[in-house]
């Protein structure tokens, strides 16, 4: 039983990792005032790019980097549309997801049967930390994971420091909260938006590549299966904080893990076996998000509200 729970926690963290990257990326974009709904699409292209580069170069570093770059390129479409051309963010994001998902499925259609070389998977698979990974319950979850999992946590820590302790992070918050003040204070609003939308795309791409390189690990059509959307919901769940995003992502990862677990194993209550329909479990993350949204609204804490200028274009002379 202890072993089971340990294994479950380990799975939860692995499953949560792609969403963690994507959520952290979306937090950056939203803090700059850009609600990019293209996360699902950017994750898809990242997943495919990571897989293709991985199979051809056999280098995890290159694979993850390229996945990130492809995600960032995708996000630049969004940035040009919404920041420079002031298009509606919701429409631009939707279109981006539809376009990039389609594109990834099209290009990837011939690669459904390829697999990553063994030498590649061994480089990226879980690192056993001798001794520590033997700790019951939390051992495998914390000390027996892939480098990608650890990088995800590191990214969250770095971003938390960036947003709370550096002047760039402060400027970022001002851009999202009040761009005209930012402009007055000499903060380059457009540059900040581009950079953070781009960084968001990069992280979404990296998140996508975790699926094809680590979790599945091969290319499948529509491989993200809604993870991008959940990541956007997770941003609200995390109240725009990278620290809370870690817990949110792993929690939602656990819910995903539960889907597989409970599909195969019935719950026995007084001798009777019940199978919980997978659809109900799939619903859980979204239900949780709705719950959190309601709680935030009831809480009425000023600090918990979204960036004031989220989803609004900024025109300098429009005053």
């Amino acid at each position: 039983m202890m072993n089971d729970i340990g294994l479950f926690l380990q799975t939860a963290i692995i499953m949560g990792t792609p969403m963690l990257y994507a959520t952290l990326g979306e937090i950056l974009a939203e803090r700059s005032g850009s609600l990019n709904l293209g996360v699902e699409g950017m994750m898809m292209t990242g997943a495919l790019a990571g897989f293709l580069v991985g199979t051809t170069t056999n280098s995890p570093l290159l694979a993850v980097l390229c996945a990130g770059l492809v995600g960032a390129m995708g996000s630049m479409i969004f940035a040009v549309l919404t920041v420079s051309l002031k298009a509606n963010q919701l429409v631009a994001g939707f279109v981006l997801t539809i376009f990039l998902s389609g594109l990834a499925n099209l290009i990837g259609s011939g690669y459904g049967n390829s697999t990553l070389p063994k030498t590649f998977t061994s480089k990226i698979s879980a690192i056993h930390i001798p001794g520590l990974s033997e700790i019951p319950l939390l051992g495998p979850a914390i000390f027996e994971q892939s480098i990608l999992v650890y990088l995800g946590i590191l990214t969250a820590v770095v971003l938390w420091l960036y947003m709370n302790k550096t002047r760039f992070g402060l400027s970022l918050r001002v851009v999202g909260e009040n761009p005209s003040f930012a402009d007055n204070a000499g903060i380059p609003v457009t540059l900040y938006k581009y950079v953070h939308i781009g960084a968001g795309g990069f992280l979404a791409g990296v998140g996508g590549s975790c699926l094809t390189l680590l979790i599945v690990p091969r290319w499948m059509e529509s491989i993200t299966a809604g993870m991008g959307w959940i990541s956007i919901a997770l941003v609200i769940f995390a109240l725009w904080s990278p620290a809370r995003a870690v817990f949110g992502a792993y929690f939602f990862g656990a819910l995903r893990g539960l889907v597989f677990k409970l599909q195969s194993a019935p719950i026995t209550i007084s001798g009777k076996a019940f199978y919980i329909p997978a659809q109900i479990l799939d619903l859980l993350p979204y239900l949780m998000t709705i719950l959190v949204l309601v709680l935030i609204t009831l809480g009425k804490r000023k600090e918990n509200r979204p960036p004031l200028w989220l989803c609004r274009p900024y025109f300098r002379e429009d005053r």
Partner: protein
């Protein structure tokens, strides 16, 4: 020698010249008042100096050197800072975070040295504020102090203030002026954009007057008079206004009674607390107060547009507190409303005048089909009756000027023959001609027995137009006065929260 010289500054918006070849000199150690009516181009001119707008012609010299400012960052580097009408800060961040935002320096924010520097500047200019407090916890006056500190933190020695007193109560405004004098004494140049004459004489050393985008007059303040400035500002001499207030009899018929009214704001904070108000037949009842003291909520509550938490609103002794607007109309309750934001709750900008004037009509609400022909006829009627400068009733409202928009709105509301009209800032942003027209109209309606609630920002104007004035402070009505100029001091004190006896 002048520290800043503007030469031939020109700025066009579409085909309208907001600034037309303006020359201006600003010296160090002086407060320079920039006087003009709304829309005369004062703010545009200063936004050009501040790098917010690009001029279409002309040049800027700072210390004798020609400069081109691409954006505010450039002008801040050149030592020019601007404080806009409404404090422009991030509510959820602290004072020190707001001040330090956008500053250079190391990657990591050095909170301790930032705080030390803020305290040093605050001490130097004798400005007081706690750097650790969040902006949403501050009053408007305190926010303005933060804005001033913010610009000084950036090493600014030319300070532009855009109508800073419009959101301040008179005592707060006096405190600000005292600060400005101290700042000037330390060798800074200050430009004070204003349309209030008394501020010019209270604080400025020199004054320049803009009219319709042109510089028409510059003089040392000591060598000019109120009359000259007024004439330059409006282009002709104005007849002396006399206070026209009528005493309201104690036993006069009450059209509106508000009792113990409380309304909650969007975050659950009280927006109105225990408000009592009585308006008599044929009375213009002014509501004075610093912007954001609950005027909007009070108007919305009376007009039936927001949820009342506690208390009652009586119209001719009939409780209408929770009566929806459609039911009110069906029951013959006639309350007209000119909201603060004309183009938001007042009119639909994209729609034609004809459609807009029909929106509140009872026969429009009662029918399924809508006749554009009838709407145009009614629109034409209003355009003629109120001398609206429009192509015709088929013109979209958003293409009209501010004064004409307000006339259409007034025409529509008065057309429903209300016996109570609520107007919030009825002449805000209007030129003198339209202002005169509207005030005359309201006075005429009062003579005909209409009761009017008028929310205003300029106490002098309220004293001129109203019969009684109630003062709001922090969501309460703290006192009600006769609109006698003799009461001006007490009203001003109440606006700043002095409470007091009526």
């Amino acid at each position: 020698m002048a520290y800043i010289e503007l030469k031939g500054i020109t700025k066009r918006f579409d085909t309208v010249y907001a600034n037309d070849g303006i020359d201006l000199e600003i010296h160090k150690g002086e407060i320079h008042a920039l006087l003009g009516e709304n829309g005369s181009g004062k703010t545009t001119l200063m936004n050009i100096l501040y790098g917010r707008y690009r001029s279409d012609g002309g040049s800027i010299l700072v210390g004798g050197v020609r400069r081109v400012f691409k954006d505010p960052a450039d002008s801040i580097k050149a030592g020019i800072g601007m404080i806009h009408q409404h404090p422009d800060l991030v509510d959820t961040l602290s004072v020190e975070q707001n001040i330090a935002a956008g500053m250079g320096g190391g990657v990591v924010l050095a909170r301790k040295s930032i705080r030390a520097r803020i305290e040093e500047i605050a001490a130097q200019y004798e400005l007081a504020v706690d750097p650790t407090r969040k902006i949403y916890q501050l009053s408007v006056g305190e926010k303005q102090t933060v804005e001033i500190l913010k610009t000084f933190y950036r090493g600014v020695d030319v300070l532009i203030l855009d109508e800073p007193t419009s959101v301040l109560a008179p005592p707060e405004a006096r405190a600000l002026f005292e600060n400005l004098v101290k700042i000037k004494a330390r060798g800074c140049a200050i430009v004070l954009i204003t349309h209030k004459m008394h501020e010019v004489f209270e604080v400025s050393d020199r004054v320049s007057v803009l009219r319709k985008g042109r510089m028409v007059y510059t003089a040392p303040t000591a060598e000019t008079t109120r009359e000259i400035l007024t004439e330059k500002m409006v282009g002709h001499a104005l007849a002396e206004q006399v206070s026209a207030h009528h005493a309201v009899a104690a036993d006069a018929e009450r059209i509106l009674r508000v009792q113990g009214l409380s309304v909650m704001g969007p975050f659950g904070q009280p927006a109105l607390t225990d408000v009592n108000l009585e308006v008599a037949r044929g009375e213009i009842h002014g509501i004075a107060g610093v912007a954001g003291s609950g005027q909007k909520e009070l108007c919305d509550a009376i007009a039936g547009m927001c949820k009342v938490h506690e208390g009652e609103i009586y119209y001719h002794d009939k409780d209408i507190t929770r009566l929806p607007i459609a039911r009110r109309r069906a029951q013959g309750i006639r309350i007209g409303y000119i909201p603060e934001d004309r183009m938001d709750a007042g009119l639909v900008g994209e729609m034609k005048i004809s459609g807009n004037v029909m929106l509140r009509r009872a026969d429009y609400a009662a029918r399924v089909f809508y006749s554009e022909k009838a709407a145009r006829a009614y629109g034409k009627e209003i355009l003629d009756a109120y001398k609206v400068d429009a192509v015709g009733p088929q013109q979209p409202v958003k293409n009209l000027s501010g004064g004409n928009i307000q006339k259409v709105l007034l025409g529509r509301e008065i057309g429903e023959d209300p016996d109570l009209l609520i107007t919030a800032y009825p002449v805000r942003g209007l030129d003198i001609g339209a202002t005169d027209f509207i005030f005359q109209l309201l006075r005429k309606k009062r003579e005909e027995g209409m009761s009017i609630v008028m929310v205003g920002e300029d106490l002098d104007v309220l004293l001129e137009q109203c019969d009684r004035i109630s003062v709001m402070y922090h969501g309460r009505i703290v006192a009600t006065f006769d609109a006698d100029p003799a009461n001006k001091g007490s009203i001003g004190a109440c606006m700043a929260g002095a409470g007091g006896a009526a």
